[in-house]
């Protein structure tokens, strides 16, 4: 396999320091909507200044660079083991260059591994596909947003939420309410309806790769995404939970086959710093974006 370690380091650098254009655009629009002089407007202004500074300096947008989650789509014949080894090497190097904070802590000893490598750390999802090129999608998911993510079982009694899209709507709104500003609002939601306890979160986080301004190809889900975005903003939690007009930047929903006994709604809450980056390798040429 060709040596892709440096390109993988560059992928990490981009994810950590260069906020995607659609997210930055949504933040600007949010800033323009807030009352001038309000704490909400001040927070968004600081956020936008920071995004600019981080990009210019190649420093992390947020100090919590999170757990790097790699979704690797590889052509037939490429080895996931070899890919994993190179990506791990790149993650350790990116940590050394201060693109990433050392974030892998042993729960038994409390010791930080120092280089972002550990049991199950970073996170990998490999899928062989029909294409002839390699695609690697990276999501940096921070701890604050992980802590306010949630998985509901329908029916959910406290909200009288049944096993239908109306039930989904209620529990997703509840998740946003529970999060308040603690996930660094205004956040982005990736939602998986169905699946199991484990794959629910994997698929919910996959939804976070969708561009904010895309439209769900399933009409009922597109309608629900728009309705949830509008209603979440009506909670008026605002940036950082200061109170304000923008509480979420987007809601992205996918459905996945489920067991008859189970109906999970998994909400992966992503902070405003929705740090995603993509790399493709075609005929030896590396392309980002």
């Amino acid at each position: 396999m060709e040596d892709l370690v440096e390109p993988f380091v560059e992928l990490v650098r981009r994810a950590a320091t260069d906020l995607p254009a659609d997210v930055e655009s949504a933040l600007r629009a949010a800033r323009d909507r807030e009352e001038p002089g309000s704490a909400a407007a001040g927070a968004l202004e600081a956020i936008l200044q920071n995004v600019d500074l981080a990009r210019k300096r190649s420093t992390p947008i947020c100090q919590d660079t999170g757990v790097p989650i790699f979704y690797v789509y590889y052509p037939q014949g490429m080895s996931p083991r070899a890919l994993r080894a190179q990506i791990e090497q790149a993650v350790a190097e990116a940590t050394r260059r201060a693109y990433l904070r050392p974030n892998a802590v042993d729960p038994l000893t409390g010791r930080n591994s120092g280089n972002n490598l550990g049991r199950g750390f970073p996170s990998f999802h490999f899928e062989e596909w029909e294409e002839e090129f390699l695609r690697v999608d990276l999501l940096l998911k921070g701890g604050g947003s992980e802590n306010v993510s949630a998985q509901y079982k329908l029916p959910y009694g406290p909200l009288k939420a049944g096993r239908d899209l109306e039930g989904v709507r209620k529990v997703v709104l509840d998740a946003v309410y529970q999060a308040q500003g603690k996930g660094c609002a205004p956040g982005v939601l990736g939602v998986a309806v169905g699946a199991d306890r484990g794959t629910g979160y994997i698929h919910a986080k996959e939804q976070l790769f969708r561009p904010l301004d895309d439209t769900n190809p399933v009409p009922e889900l597109a309608a629900l995404e728009q309705r949830l975005l509008k209603e979440a903003n009506e909670l008026s939690i605002g940036p950082m939970g200061f109170g304000g007009k923008t509480t979420l930047l987007g809601v992205k929903i996918g459905t996945y086959h489920r067991l008859p006994a189970c109906y999970f709604v998994t909400v992966a809450y992503m902070c405003w710093a929705c740090r995603r980056a993509r790399m493709e390798v075609r005929d030896g040429e590396v392309v980002y974006g």
Partner: protein
């Protein structure tokens, strides 16, 4: 809503003059401390019968820094220079609510005047703010590179090997670190207010009252 410039050590009078919504630019020495640091302070200093001998030097140092001082809930990204000195590369706040079981005791024990973090804290901390004269300063979550700019010098680091870089006590000198007061000495908390109003809004949106 007023704007203030404060330098550590901060007097009780200056802190009691603040109200939620005020903007403050903080300068002087502050100390980072999060999950491991709070557990350590509680176990070795605050709820201990006696301070273990090997922790006494750090105890003395923390008493000096935190009296009239400020704790910052932060796990920074740092870089070490060739001369061995450290610099802060990215330094936004972490979510403070995890320290709610401990913070009131830290405020009482050390004479802390301010806690910087994100997402606010709970009723025990709010009560300690009122009783002892301290406020919660909310920094902008994720404005890590911007905030790192206000860190002019890393003066010292304690417990880096035991706790790791994100959890260590970093003693830093800041100039013009921008924060918003969201919990004050008058029993007011923006977080309580927003939680209440968003709860009512949720009730309307899901067709339930009294949830």
């Amino acid at each position: 809503m007023a704007t203030y410039e404060l330098r550590t050590p901060i007097s009780e009078e200056a802190i009691r003059a603040l109200h939620v919504g005020d903007t403050v630019y903080l300068s002087g020495l502050i100390v980072t401390g999060r999950d491991a640091a709070h557990k350590y302070m509680i176990e070795n200093f605050i709820r201990a019968d006696s301070v273990p001998e090997e922790e006494q030097a750090l105890y003395g140092e923390l008493k000096r820094l935190l009296n009239g001082g400020v704790i910052y809930h932060c796990g920074p990204v740092v870089r070490q220079r060739e001369d061995g000195r450290w610099e802060f590369v990215a330094a936004g706040p972490t979510t403070s609510i995890r320290e709610e079981p401990y913070e009131a005791d830290v405020i009482a024990h050390f004479g802390l005047r301010g806690v910087i973090g994100k997402g606010g804290m709970g009723p025990r901390t709010l009560q300690a703010c009122q009783e002892y004269g301290a406020v919660y300063f909310h920094a902008v979550g994720g404005a890590a590179s911007l905030i790192a700019d206000s860190v002019k010098e890393v003066v010292a680091v304690h417990k880096k090997d035991e706790f790791g870089v994100p959890e260590a006590f970093w003693v830093i000198r800041v100039e013009g670190f921008p924060v918003v007061v969201t919990m004050d000495t008058h029993g007011r908390s923006i977080h309580e207010q927003v939680e209440q109003s968003s709860k009512e809004a949720l009730g309307q949106l899901v067709g339930l009252t009294g949830i």
